[in-house]
Symmetry: C2
Subunit: 367 residues, 2 copies
């Protein structure tokens, strides 16, 4: 008889508006390096809401959808090949649940670029151990339990509140990886800008401060100004429809900018003008329309624009270590996971300030 | 009585078509850290031709124009503050002749970003030591002598033919700086692409090979294919009007691309598709039209596009060291500097294969 887990399941677009149903799913077969995790906390990320709203395509192309990719809980079972985790350890899993272990990127431990990765939920191809007789898909954290490769279950150190670890698993990692890659806080990137103060942006401010950077928050209008300073920002730039004018007196002032917004359009050249020589603008949120890029001033200042996507388990372990003992404290609002059908619509309405975390009280979570 | 130097002077747009006249100029006043250089070789760079054609504005806004910014010769006079050069040393000077010595970038030895830099010719503001009674402008290498700060006169090591050093001073440095910054030949940038095989591109191939990279030359059609392999390229991609199709089977294959062309338009997203994860496309030539940039695949692969401009004297010293003893041998065609009024139009017509060097025989140069 196959194992079953209890989960909040989406079957159609009503999933984002209160239509998740509590029921049974059949996880992948248990392999030697797998763990089972009793889920205690599970973050809600904007992409969960988008996925459950059908923005990325049909909700349940391979069978029932269980979203949630900031999964935190206790290890309750481990395979014989699992050395680095003990039963009872708190672990966190982000947006990636497995990789092929064979490609160049896997061999170089840059698993987040594996072209055959398994995403944490809805992955259409589980490389290894698809449950027999079921479509080979992965299930996320809006559930009582999670099963997957221990390689992607990162141990949460004792000094870090597991509830705070949840939003770090995807949102935090997404901004930490480029902050680290481009040297935030080091001599070459002392001055860091963060565009957008929301789920990702508020963590980018916290993490960049934790890395020793001077942080400038950049946000539309002044409604987020007070929060920005409370988060630790050293400066604030309010933007309007006319970013060229807004940025005029801040030209060449930032070494690195992490852009966390998902706007329909972005005036790229205005943002590039904020960069000091050799500065880099990093997009972590998709801009829907093609952007216009002018080469002249980019060449004159040796600036550039890059993308970034999630990070590796090693990056997440570093971020957990940075966050432990109060180094980085995301602003979270907790919901009992039983209230998920209220939490998802509230997240969709942008009410989180700045990140929702679902709590399984029966697994030991504290609301 | 002020010093005078003999030089080939431009006064109007005829400068690029045979209208340079040989005459006297008055250099800046001689200061304690200056050197006078008897010019032996002087490279012709594409921007010299553009400047003398009036593409960058009036030829002689501050008085007579003396172009040339790949200046090689022997030190014949040095100020009392010059420690690192001896009389008789061969030195090379590139596109930058001075910097303010006061800004953040100067203090960090990133002088190529000094916002008050003096360009090697036609600089409208010589920070220090403008000749009294003359406009404060700088004079380049199409002359018998050059005077300027020893900080920007880089010693040419004995193993390097001074004639070959000339094109390295600007063109070579322009491609070396980004190759070095982005780690060409190291683990993170083993596979390097070079777009365009001309003055800059042919040196980019040579230098990237010298740094240990696997080099793919990318050029329109197949006319440069033979030269590319003769220069040391390991692979060649011929482009057509349809770069998307041309690049399809090469996707994700390059870690770093140096784009040396100056096209009216560039299909940026197609080029970005050639990049492996965390790869970077570096533009060193201006693209006239704004380019269209799509964020999605750039984010998914953490790729990016940056600019780069010249380099520092320290970079040039490194490049000279790399080039010495046959490490990098630019393909040059020599002209007697007395024939400069034929050489400039030939350069304008694209006849160099791949770089022209003017020779002052009376200062010891060998044609």
């Amino acid at each position: 008889m196959p194992d079953t887990f209890k989960a909040w399941i989406g079957r159609d677009e009503s999933a984002a508006t209160g239509g998740l149903t509590f029921g049974a799913i059949e996880p992948k077969v248990f392999e030697d390096d797998d763990v089972d995790v009793a889920i205690v906390y599970s973050g809600i990320c904007a992409t969960d809401v988008s996925a459950l709203s059908g923005e990325f395509g049909p909700i349940a192309p391979y069978g029932p959808r269980v979203a949630g990719h900031e999964v935190v809980g206790r290890v309750i079972r481990k395979g014989p090949a699992v050395d680095h985790l003990q039963l009872g350890d708190f672990v966190g899993v982000g947006a990636q649940a497995d990789c092929c272990r064979q490609c160049k990127w896997c061999h170089e431990d840059r698993v987040n670029y594996c072209p055959r990765m398994t995403v944490t939920y809805g992955g259409s191809r589980y490389q290894r151990g698809a449950a027999k007789g079921t479509p080979a898909q992965s299930y996320g954290g809006f559930a009582k339990h999670w099963r997957g490769s221990s390689k992607f279950a990162v141990r949460i150190p004792p000094g870090l509140d597991p509830a705070l670890a949840a939003p770090l698993c995807c949102g935090g990692l997404t901004v930490y990886a480029p902050l680290r890659r481009w040297g935030a806080g080091s001599r070459r990137a002392r001055n860091v800008g963060v565009v957008g103060i929301g789920g990702l942006g508020h963590m980018a401010i916290l993490i960049a401060k934790g890395m020793g950077a001077h942080v400038t928050a950049i946000s539309r209008g002044t409604s987020k100004r007070e929060d920005a300073f409370a988060l630790g920002a050293d400066a604030y730039i309010a933007t309007s429809e006319n970013t060229r004018a807004d940025f005029k007196k801040h030209r060449r002032s930032l070494d690195l900018i992490i852009c966390t917004i998902n706007p329909p359009e972005l005036p790229l050249n205005d943002y590039l003008g904020l960069l000091a020589p050799e500065g880099q603008l990093v997009l972590v949120g998709v801009v829907m329309a093609p952007m216009e890029l002018i080469s002249g001033s980019m060449i004159a200042n040796a600036t550039g624009v890059s993308g970034s996507i999630i990070g590796t388990p090693e990056d997440l372990a570093e971020l957990f270590a940075l966050a432990a003992n109060g180094g980085v404290t995301p602003w979270i609002n907790k919901w009992d996971m039983d209230e998920i059908n209220q939490a998802i619509p509230a997240a969709k309405a942008g009410k989180a300030k700045y990140r929702y975390v679902l709590v399984n009280k029966d697994n030991g979570g504290v609301v």
